[in-house]
C-alpha cells in the first residue's frame, strides 16, 4: 500500500511573496481567533471573580482561578494614549508605515494595545472589535465611537477587512441559486461591479432575468468544466478581480446503485472538482501575488460550501465526494495566507435546503 505523506511542515513564503504581519501567538490567544472569525468582541473573564483580563492569560491575576473563559465583552473604551510608528523591525509593517497604535482602557477594565483608526483622538471614546489580520491572526482594532466621514477608507482598517466596497467581484457560476441575491447584496455594500460567470450567457434560467436586470452586473462567458474557458476569462479580467466567489455547483442527487450513477458522478466531478482546480490554476497565482499589495490587494477567495461537504447522505454521495475538493482547497488556506489573501469558507443553508428537498422527494 502506498504510504501517504504526513502533514507538511509550514514552509517559508516563496520568494517574492508579500510579507505578512507577525503570526506567532500563544495557544491561549487563539481564543480570540474564534471570536474574531465569528465577528464577536470577546475577552477572557474569570468565572470566579467575574473580572475581565487582557492580554490572554492562563490564570486570573486577581484570584488565580485557572479556568478563564472567553465571553462577549463590552465594545466601548477610552483612548488614553496613542502613537504613530515611523520605524518598525517587521517587514510587513515597514511596507505600511506610518502606522497608528493606541492604548485603550476598555470599559470592562483591562488596558488594550490596539490598531488605531486614523480618526481616533486621545481622550475620546472608541469602539473595539476583533479582526483577523492578513496573517489570519486575531487583533484588536479601535474605531471612533461615532461614525466619521469616509470611515471605511482608513488604510489600517482596510488591511483588517475584506470589505466589498469599490471591489471588482467575480461570481463563478451565475446559475447557483444564491448568485442573484449575492450580487445584489455585494453591490448594495458598495462593490464596484460584479462579473457573473455563465457557460452560455444567452440561456434562460431561474434568476437569470433578475441578474441581467441588475446594474453593474456583467454576465461573462465562463465554462468551469473547460480549462481554456477559465484561462481565457482570467487573461481578460484576472488581474482586476479582488474577490472571487466560487459557486461552482452541480446538484444531481443520485444513489450509487442507480443505473445512471457513473455518468452522473463524472458530470458532477467535472462541474465542481475540476472547476475548482481550473479556477485555482487560472486565478490563484495573480490573486496571491497581490495578497498584501496595499489598497489594490486581492482581498478574498470565497468557496461556497455545503454542510454536505462534511458527510454523506446516501443520495448525496457524489456531493459529499466532490465537496471535498473546494473544502480541501479551503483547507489549504495556510498557503494562501502565506500570500496575504483571505480564504473564506461559507456554508449556504439555501443550497443545503435544495439538496435536502431532493433527498426527501425520493
Amino acid at each position: 500500500m502506498t504510504k501517504l505523506p504526513g502533514p507538511e511542515a509550514p514552509k517559508a513564503p516563496p520568494a517574492g511573496a508579500p510579507p505578512l504581519p507577525p503570526a506567532n501567538r500563544s495557544r491561549t490567544a487563539h481564543g480570540l481567533t474564534r471570536a474574531a472569525a465569528e465577528g464577536r468582541f470577546a475577552l477572557q473573564r474569570c468565572p470566579a471573580c467575574a473580572r475581565f483580563t487582557y492580554p490572554p492569560r492562563d490564570a486570573c491575576p486577581k484570584c488565580l482561578c485557572p479556568a478563564l473563559e472567553f465571553v462577549d465583552a463590552p465594545e466601548g473604551g477610552l483612548l488614553v494614549s496613542s502613537t504613530t510608528i515611523h520605524a518598525s523591525v517587521d517587514p510587513y509593517f515597514r511596507e505600511h508605515l506610518p502606522w497608528r497604535q493606541g492604548l485603550v482602557t476598555a470599559d470592562c477594565g483591562p488596558p488594550i494595545i490596539v490598531h488605531l483608526h486614523r480618526d481616533c483622538v486621545e481622550g475620546e471614546r472608541v469602539r473595539l472589535s476583533l479582526q483577523l489580520d492578513k496573517a489570519g491572526q486575531p487583533v484588536v482594532f479601535a474605531r471612533p465611537a461615532t461614525e466619521t466621514p469616509n470611515m471605511q477608507d482608513d488604510p489600517a482598517w482596510q488591511e483588517m477587512t475584506a470589505d466589498p466596497r469599490s471591489r471588482r467581484i467575480l461570481i463563478t457560476n451565475g446559475r447557483h441559486p444564491a448568485a442573484p441575491a449575492l450580487a445584489r447584496a455585494l453591490l448594495q455594500a458598495g462593490a464596484a461591479s460584479v462579473d457573473v460567470g455563465l457557460s452560455d450567457p444567452d440561456e434562460a434560467f431561474d434568476g437569470g432575468a433578475l441578474l441581467r436586470a441588475t446594474d453593474n452586473v456583467t454576465p461573462v462567458a465562463l465554462d468551469l468544466t473547460d480549462a481554456r474557458s477559465v484561462a481565457a476569462l482570467a487573461a481578460a479580467i484576472g488581474a482586476e478581480v479582488d474577490i472571487l466567489i466560487n459557486t461552482a455547483d452541480h446538484v444531481r442527487p443520485v444513489h450509487l446503485f442507480e443505473r445512471d450513477a457513473p455518468r452522473c458522478l463524472m458530470e458532477t466531478m467535472d462541474a465542481t472538482v475540476a472547476a475548482t482546480a481550473h479556477l485555482a490554476q487560472a486565478f490563484g497565482p495573480a490573486m496571491m501575488a497581490r495578497g498584501a499589495a496595499g489598497p489594490n490587494s486581492a482581498v478574498a477567495w470565497v468557496n461556497i460550501l455545503s454542510a454536505y461537504a462534511l458527510g454523506g447522505h446516501p443520495v448525496a454521495v457524489a456531493l459529499a465526494a466532490r465537496r471535498a475538493a473546494p473544502r480541501r482547497h479551503t483547507g489549504s488556506q495556510r498557503l494562501y495566507r502565506s500570500r496575504g489573501r483571505r480564504m473564506v469558507p461559507a456554508r449556504t443553508p439555501a443550497e443545503d435546503i435544495a439538496v435536502a428537498a431532493f433527498a426527501c422527494g425520493r
Binding site: S26, A29, P55, S81, T83, A87, S88, D90, Y92, F93
Partner: protein
C-alpha cells in the same frame, strides 16, 4: 501603611573594580566573547585569577541556548554560587543585591556581576519579537515598533498629563551627549544641539531619533566582596548604603506614569540614612528621557509631575547643578542589551571612588544608580536603585 524597615544593612559589603568593555554598534562575536572580556577585565583590575571568583551573576539577552550554567564551563569558572538574572535594565541592581547578601552570608567571597550582549544584524528584531508572551500576543503584532512604540505611549501620556515638552526631553539628551564627548568609549562622538534634537526624524511619535538608545554590543561588570577582601587586594571600593527592588507595582495606573521606585523610595533613603539632597551624582536608567524624568520624581528629587520644571531649572552636565548620567548614559554611550542596567552602577562606582577620569564629578562621594526594565506588555515592570558611598579617595 508605611512599612518599617526591618532589613539588615549591607555593612561590610562593598562594590569594586568597575569594568566597561568598549561598545561596538554591530559585532560578529557572541555574547560569550563579550562576557569573557568583561571577566578578564575584572580579574586584571582585581589582580586575581578568574578561578578565584566563586560567585557569578550573569545578565544577557543573547547567550541562548546557554544559561549562566553553560557559561561556567565555557569560561572555565567553578563558582559555588551562581545566578542568571534575565531582567534587562534592572538586572544590574538585582545582581548587586543578591550578590551582596550572598557574600554577607558567606555563601561566596568574590561575586562577579557581569552583563554582556552581542548585536548581530538581526539580534534586535529577534529580541523584540520574542521578548515576552504578552508582547508576542498583544503588542508586537501592532506595528512591531518594539520598546519605541511602548514608550511613545507612556511619553505621550506623561506629556499630556504633566505638561512636559519635547524641549525638556531634549535638554537631557543634549546634556548627556556633552557628557559622552568626554567619555572615550561612548559610541556617540559628535555634539548634539537642541536644534538637532528637535529636527530629528520621528520614530514613534512623540519620540524622535535622539530620544532612542542605539542598540549595540558590549559588556559592563563589577565585583562584590567583603570590605576586608577589597583592602587585602588593595582595591578602591564603595560601600552599599541601600538598595530597593520592585516588580509590577501600580497595576491600577491606566498608563504608566510612575515606576516601583515611588513605592519603595522611603525605604531607600531610610536605610541609607541620608536625604536626596545629599546625593552627589545620579545615574538614572535612561532608555528614554521621559523615564529619567519619572525617576527624578519617584526617587525623591522632585514631586510627581514636577520633573518638567526640575529639568528647566537644572543643568545636567558633569559640572552642572545636577550631574546626571555622566558617562553619556545609554542615550549617548549606547545600549549593549542587558548591560544597560549595569552601565549606571559601573559609572557610579567610578564616580564615588574618584576614578571616573575625564567624566569625574568633583568631590563626588555618594552616588545613586537606578535600573528599570522589562516592558512585558504596556509598561516597564521592574525597578530598582542602589546608593553607593565611596570613602577611599
Amino acid at each position: 501603611m508605611t512599612r518599617q524597615p526591618v532589613r539588615k544593612s549591607y555593612d561590610g559589603i562593598v562594590a569594586a573594580v568597575p569594568v566597561s568593555v568598549p561598545y561596538e554598534r554591530y559585532s560578529i562575536e557572541s555574547a560569550h566573547w563579550w562576557i569573557a572580556r568583561a571577566l578578564k577585565g575584572l580579574c586584571e583590575g582585581a589582580g586575581i585569577d578568574h578561578r578565584d571568583i566563586d560567585g557569578f551573576a550573569m545578565a544577557s539577552f543573547t547567550t541562548a541556548p546557554d544559561s549562566a550554567v553553560g557559561l561556567t564551563q565555557h569560561l572555565g569558572l567553578s563558582p559555588r554560587w551562581l545566578d542568571h538574572v534575565p531582567m534587562g535594565g534592572v538586572a544590574g541592581v538585582v545582581s548587586l543585591r543578591r550578590a551582596a547578601r550572598a557574600v554577607q552570608a558567606g555563601d561566596a567571597d568574590i561575586v562577579a556581576c557581569v552583563a554582556g550582549d552581542t548585536n548581530q544584524v538581526d539580534t534586535f528584531r529577534k529580541t523584540v519579537a520574542h521578548f515576552s508572551r504578552f508582547a508576542q500576543d498583544a503588542s508586537y503584532p501592532y506595528g512591531a515598533g518594539g520598546a519605541n512604540a511602548s514608550f511613545a505611549l507612556i511619553a505621550r501620556y506623561y506629556m499630556n498629563r504633566f505638561g512636559a515638552r519635547r524641549e525638556d526631553f531634549g535638554k537631557l539628551c543634549v546634556a548627556q551627549r556633552a557628557n559622552a564627548l568626554k567619555n572615550p568609549h561612548a559610541l556617540m562622538k559628535t555634539p548634539l544641539t537642541l536644534d538637532d534634537y528637535m529636527r530629528a526624524r520621528p520614530i514613534a511619535e512623540p519620540l524622535h531619533l535622539f530620544d532612542c538608545v542605539m542598540p549595540c554590543a558590549g559588556a559592563e561588570a563589577f565585583l562584590i566582596m567583603r570590605e576586608e577582601t577589597a583592602s587585602a587586594l588593595g582595591l578602591p571600593f564603595a560601600r552599599i548604603l541601600s538598595t530597593i527592588e520592585r516588580h509590577h507595582a501600580f497595576a491600577e495606573d491606566e498608563v504608566q506614569y510612575r515606576g516601583g521606585w515611588a513605592r519603595d523610595v522611603g525605604e531607600l533613603y531610610a536605610m541609607a540614612g541620608i536625604t536626596p539632597s545629599e546625593i552627589d551624582v545620579v545615574q538614572t536608567y535612561d532608555d528614554y528621557p521621559v523615564i529619567s524624568m519619572m525617576q527624578f520624581e519617584d526617587l525623591g528629587f522632585c514631586a510627581k509631575g514636577e520633573a518638567p520644571d526640575f529639568v528647566r531649572s537644572h543643568s545636567f552636565e558633569i559640572d552642572g547643578s545636577f550631574p546626571h548620567n555622566t558617562s553619556g548614559g545609554q542615550l549617548s554611550a549606547g545600549q549593549a542589551g542587558a548591560a544597560g542596567g549595569h552601565l549606571g552602577i559601573v559609572e557610579c562606582l567610578r564616580q564615588v571612588t574618584g576614578r571616573a577620569g575625564p567624566t569625574q564629578v568633583e568631590q563626588a562621594r555618594i552616588g545613586l544608580a537606578s535600573g528599570f526594565g522589562m516592558i512585558n506588555y504596556d509598561r516597564g515592570l521592574s525597578s530598582g536603585a542602589v546608593i553607593l558611598w565611596g570613602e577611599t579617595q
